[in-house]
């Protein structure tokens, strides 16, 4: 009994003395950096705005055309941000579009970073021939001109939607993170704790996932956060070139794509400006938070 008490007390103790390398240092670092903190709050606000906001919206209603209401300017007839060329309310499109774009950005990130991480882990850890082969494949994919091929594929694929877009982009995107993670794994592999684990009889898989992986988490977090910032905007360029998502799938890209038409740029800023600003704010905020994370990661690096 007494012993049990003892351990539970120790467990509490243990919780409070988590290494500052974990979640805590991140929170601390973000909290300490006022800009990062404000950015974090903004991100939360945007997430609430887009995700919770979208809950109250009905997709078919939002994307319903009402030609009589086309091109209302800011504030006209109760449309805070006006309406687009089909009389759709920009504010609502912004909510749904923001959500979709964030989801797309997240999915692309998850796919790219997930594949990249796995490849990086195996390639970096095993080295030798495995590494050589994987890296040749990565090299090959990296010489593929990404945008051109995506564009060609979008015209080939019959039912092109957000899902296919995500796959297309991820198909090319993972190589960068694979290289990035591989470099980290390589540097970890040099460390003697890997040898120590080997001599302790752990299998390679165990070492990869239980030993090496936790040690590159801060690199992963930073990479992922910054990648999200980049990926949310990734469909905008495709939209510009005319290979973006259909307007029935609102996204920041389709909204910003209105800027494709100079007439809209000069005379109907409400069509594209809010989405551009939203994208800008999201990117900026994520970047600032990412920076704080990076500092947290560096601090850890120094402690090591």
């Amino acid at each position: 009994m007494a012993k049990d008490k003892n351990t539970s007390k120790k467990d509490q103790n243990a919780k409070t003395s988590l290494p500052p390398s974990g979640f805590k240092i991140i929170v601390r670092e973000v909290w300490r950096d006022k800009v990062a903190f404000v950015s974090f709050c903004i991100i939360v606000a945007i997430l609430l705005f887009t995700f919770v906001g979208s809950l109250f919206l009905n997709k078919s209603q939002v994307t319903e055309i009402n030609i009589a209401e086309a091109y209302y300017a800011w504030g006209e007839s109760g449309h805070v941000f006006g309406t687009d060329d089909g009389g759709r309310d920009i504010l609502k499109l912004l909510m749904m579009g923001g959500r979709n774009s964030i989801l797309i950005g997240l999915s692309v990130t998850v796919l790219c970073e997930g594949i990249g991480l796995l490849v990086g882990l195996f390639s970096g850890y095993f080295g030798g021939v495995t590494d050589a082969i994987i890296m040749r494949i990565v090299d090959f994919i990296q010489i593929l001109p990404m945008f051109p091929i995506i564009i060609v594929l979008t015209t080939v694929i019959p039912n092109y939607n957000a899902g296919t877009l995500v796959w297309l982009i991820s198909m090319f995107g993972w190589t960068g993170s694979a290289r990035y993670f591989r470099a980290f794994v390589l540097s970890q592999r040099e460390r003697e704790y890997v040898l120590a684990s080997k001599t302790s009889g752990s299998s390679n898989l165990t070492i990869i996932f239980r030993e090496v992986l936790p040690n590159i988490t801060s690199a992963i977090i930073i990479e992922v956060v910054l990648a999200i910032a980049g990926n949310i905007g990734i469909e905008t360029t495709l939209s510009f070139l005319g290979y973006g998502l259909p307007t029935t799938t609102p996204s920041l890209g389709t909204l910003i794509g209105f800027a494709n038409d100079p007439v809209n740029v000069t005379t109907r800023p409400w069509l594209w400006l809010p989405a551009t600003i939203l994208l800008l704010i999201i990117s900026l905020s994520i970047n600032y938070v990412g920076r704080a994370l990076q500092r947290a990661g560096d601090a850890r690096q120094r402690e090591n």
Binding site: K10, D11, N13, A14, S17, P19, S21, R191, E192, Y193, L195, A196, S197, K198, T199, S200, G201, S202, E211, P214, N215, T217, E303, N304
Partner: protein
Amino acid sequence: MADEIIEIKNLKVHYPIRSGFWNRVTGYVKAVDGINLSIKEGETYGLIGESGSGKSTTGKAIVGVEKVTNGQILYKGVDVTKASNRKKLNYNKDVQMIFQDSMSSLNPRKRIEDIIAEPIRNFENLTTDEERKRVQELLDIVGMPSDAIYKFPHEFSGGQRQRIGVARAVATHPKLIVADEPTSALDLSVQAQVLNFMKHIQQEYNIAYLFISHDLGVVKHMSEDIAIMHRGRFVEIGKRDQIYKNPMHIYTKRLLSAIPVVDVENREQHKEDRQRVEKEFLQDQDKWYEKDGRVLPLQKVGDRHFVALPKDMIQQELKEGE
């Protein structure tokens, strides 16, 4: 008499050098180039040599984390250079390693408990409670407070971390521990702690050490048998006193003379000696080494004392020694 627990026969570890148009192997770094060595139960074998002489490579080959190019490592009569044999024998249960850099050898993301328990989990089937008890015992043995098991490596000082490394190494009651420069990163007083401690557990559990270091003072303190390594081979092996009192190979002499001595009065004398040996070493290379700079084969010069010199020179040296 103590039995030999490991025997190394003609061990070679070569790293390929790639170059040329097709990136083919054009040569080898002969990190370890044919060494023979046997370690007896409960004894410490010291391995000395300058940087890059192949000490760590030897150690890693013995614990089985470095691929052996050639030769045999016999453990209980089984050649453990093959991974399958190691697996069958649960080899690493009996042969463990302590690393030089205590920080990098402990996973910064794991609690001390998990670090120490890792070999236990892999080699023994214990319940969680038993396992924890064992970890506590081990911490106790290495003189750490019991609440250490919940902490992370960075919360400890260098000396403490090194002791945790030792605790992990002894967790499965190994028979042999390869200690690769376990104290070179430590301050004097901390080094003393760790060395004392290693000696204690050796006596208690009858562990054999392969003690690798370039600090001759430390090796002398720890080991009964000593091997001097140079360019992947042994230049001289023998008992502690044979090596320290009666070194025969010029390289051994050079190493010994370079050790700073706490003898202020005679320091000029030491310096002269040192420089004389250095000069000799540089001048008559082909007297001491083969033409291509490789170390000569070992010759027996006394009970358990071998030196890599041509026979005629040995006679001469012996005479001089008298």
